[in-house]
């Protein structure tokens, strides 16, 4: 399904053969903003919470609805790039202020912390919800933390409701299935870009209605 109307922007997702540009409408962003407070509430994020989003600008189409959702829910937000060079900034945020959630932690950020010789526990140990992407999830778990799965399945954001659990997309918006072990996404409501079993960079199995990425894969 394709929606007409002015575009919110042109974002980017990781497809199975590389980065893919996707056009995003204002309507779909508005819908996802509306749904985001409910998704965040399932993580216990709401009024009075503080959330640090670790993302790259090209991922704004995926992250912006969550950021606005956090704001609409009465939470405060902070932002850092999700790359190695920003590890010091992420560590600075959690050192200076209490955070209820840090969402979008990447392997690159953890590489940066390793380079700074800062233990993961020092940065994330006091954070109730750490949403870690594939590759980072396993490293945090190995360090004794209890991360939630946080997966960008192409244009769709999947978040685990509890530590160790599968990551769920917004099922009003997306259907997820597999082609082999490749996660494919289909949009269920009109979007500026149509996704019809579109292959993403995520390799996973499906369990409990959600995504469990294959260990060691870093889309």
């Amino acid at each position: 399904m394709t929606a007409a109307g002015a575009h919110w922007g042109v974002g980017c997702y990781e497809g199975d053969t590389g980065r893919v540009a996707w056009e995003i409408s204002h309507d779909e962003i508005q819908r996802e903003m509306g749904a985001a407070p409910g998704r965040l509430a399932r993580l216990g994020v709401g009024a009075g919470s503080r959330v640090l989003f670790c993302s790259m600008l090209s991922e704004a189409g995926q992250f912006w609805p969550l950021m606005v959702g956090a704001m609409l829910a009465g939470a405060q937000l902070s932002s850092a790039d999700a790359n190695e060079g920003e590890a010091a900034r992420v560590a600075m945020f959690t050192r200076r202020l209490p955070y209820d959630a840090v969402l979008g932690v990447t392997p690159a950020l953890l590489d940066g912390l390793d380079g700074l010789r800062v233990p993961y526990r020092d940065v994330f140990g006091g954070v109730r919800v750490v949403g870690a992407r594939p590759g980072a999830y396993e490293r945090l778990a190995a360090a004794g933390l209890a991360p939630h799965r946080f997966v960008l399945a192409g244009p769709a954001v999947a978040i685990g409701a509890e530590p160790g659990g599968p990551a769920h997309v917004d099922e009003q918006e997306w259907r997820v299935d597999l082609d082999g072990d490749v996660v494919c996404v289909t949009n269920l409501r009109p979007r500026a870009t149509t996704f019809e079993r579109t292959r993403t960079a995520v390799r996973a199995r499906l369990a409990g209605g959600g995504i469990v990425p294959s260990a060691g894969r870093e889309p």
């Binding site: 002015a6 980017c12 937000l77 790359n83 945020f93 200076r96």
Partner: protein
């Protein structure tokens, strides 16, 4: 948003071209509203004023302000933060629970400091909109944004203008995508570019058989920021037909952009009162002379910086610009804390930049001046080189030494490191150009 006619050169004609007397009246009016608020609610400002024995009642004119009000600087904020346990360094002037966001400064000069924000808190003129409108950006245009996220969602400013942002990471690896999507969407402006990205675009075009002039043919403005564009990168961009616009922050208070006249960077004086003072004193320098930029916000009631010494060495003029705007302009020169005096000669990174970049192996212009203190017996440089030159480092070192000597009269000690080692030092749009060791 009420938009002017598309052929208007100004987004807010009345504000952008207001007579100097009106600018100064408005600044005083806004200043006299801001100062009591900052004094009452921003603890670091209150502490500085109490130490100086000044209260807002002592300020009735801009001259009073210049004579009596104390300066603050980043060290004062960090000291307040560390001594008082206030994460905002005493600058947050609203109850922290009322903040929408907490973002951070770039951290180029050390640990980033927190920036408290309250989105939707009125009063801030859409200054970036004025600048991009002046560059020729109009509703419906695509705009390529090549940015980091630590400043928050800057793309909202462009969506507010009715443009469609095409989003890229500030990363050389994104430049092939930038080229491809520039050909597909034909954006009108790019924000923001830098030397490293210029070279990455050249490499991407060479690999893909693209003509950079075609890639950039739709752009009316390419904005660069963070640090100066070296002569080599500038020449490349100009060879591609790109009109470059410099952009810089103004003391963490507002921003400044070049206009089509390319004769200094405008800062909007209805958002900030900017002074230019002797770098080691408090005496104002005349228009056109080098001095330190000192900025006071006229709109930000959440983090009200007052007489903030930026450490930036600039020249400022209040003469009207050829573009018709009446607001002041500045020319960034360097950072006060970056200067090192070697054998009696002051050296800033900008003094060696072109020399380093002129050496083929070092074309990315990545280098650091080693500055253990304000004075040094030797000029020591850490210089990045491209991987292809790995086997010829003796020659590269000789070339760098010769080029820097020709530019400064000083033969430097040169440590060569791979470009990647310096790029990792980010923040992404710039590396620290000075290092203590």
């Amino acid at each position: 948003m009420n938009l002017p006619p598309a052929d208007s050169p100004y987004f807010s004609p009345a504000e952008e071209t207001m007579p100097r007397e009106r600018i100064e009246e408005l600044q005083l009016e806004l200043l006299l509203e801001m100062l009591p608020h900052a004094y009452e609610h921003a603890p670091v400002i209150r502490a500085a004023w109490e130490a100086a024995g000044v209260t807002p009642r002592d300020v009735r004119t801009v001259d009073d302000f210049r004579e009596r009000v104390p300066f603050v600087d980043k060290d004062a904020l960090r000291r307040f933060r560390d001594e008082r346990g206030d994460p905002f360094g005493g600058l947050c002037a609203v109850p922290p629970a009322e903040l929408t966001a907490v973002n951070s400064t770039s951290g180029t000069t050390g640990d980033p400091t927190l920036v408290p924000e309250q989105w939707g808190a009125g009063g801030r003129p859409a200054v970036i909109t004025r600048d991009f409108w002046g560059m020729g950006v109009r509703p419906g245009d695509h705009v390529a944004l090549v940015l980091f996220t630590f400043r928050g969602p800057v793309y909202g400013l462009f969506q507010g203008l009715g443009t469609v942002p095409v989003l890229f990471d500030f990363d050389p690896a994104e430049m092939p995508r930038l080229c491809e999507l520039s050909l597909r969407y034909r954006p009108r402006a790019l924000y923001n570019f830098g030397s490293v990205l210029v070279h990455a675009v050249r490499d991407a075009c060479e690999r893909r058989g693209l003509d950079p002039a075609d890639v950039f043919s739709s752009y009316r403005a390419v904005v660069y920021a963070g640090e100066p564009l070296g002569p080599r990168a500038r020449a490349l961009a100009q060879e591609w037909g790109v009109e470059l616009f410099e952009h810089t922050g103004v003391g963490d208070v507002t921003a400044a952009f070049e206009c089509h006249a390319h004769d200094g960077l405008h800062f909007w004086e209805d958002t900030a009162l900017v002074e230019c003072v002797e770098p080691d004193g408090r005496t104002p320098v005349p228009d056109g002379a080098r001095g330190e930029l000192v900025a006071t916000t006229l709109f930000n009631r959440v983090a009200p910086l007052v007489r903030y010494r930026s450490d930036d060495i600039v020249r400022v003029t209040r003469a009207p610009c050829r573009c018709g705007r009446t607001h002041a302009r500045m020319w960034p020169i360097g950072r006060k804390g970056d200067e090192v005096v070697v054998q009696g000669r002051p050296v800033l990174p900008v003094d060696v930049w072109g020399a380093v970049e002129s050496v083929d192996a070092c074309a990315m212009g990545l280098f650091q001046v080693i500055r253990p203190g304000p004075q040094a017996d030797r000029l020591r440089l850490r210089v990045g080189y491209a991987p292809a030159w790995d086997g010829r480092l003796g020659t590269v070192g000789d070339e760098v030494r010769a080029a820097v000597e020709a530019a400064t009269g000083i033969v430097p000690d040169v440590e060569l490191v791979p470009d990647a080692a310096l790029l990792r030092l980010g923040p992404p749009h710039k590396i620290p150009r000075v290092a203590p060791r």
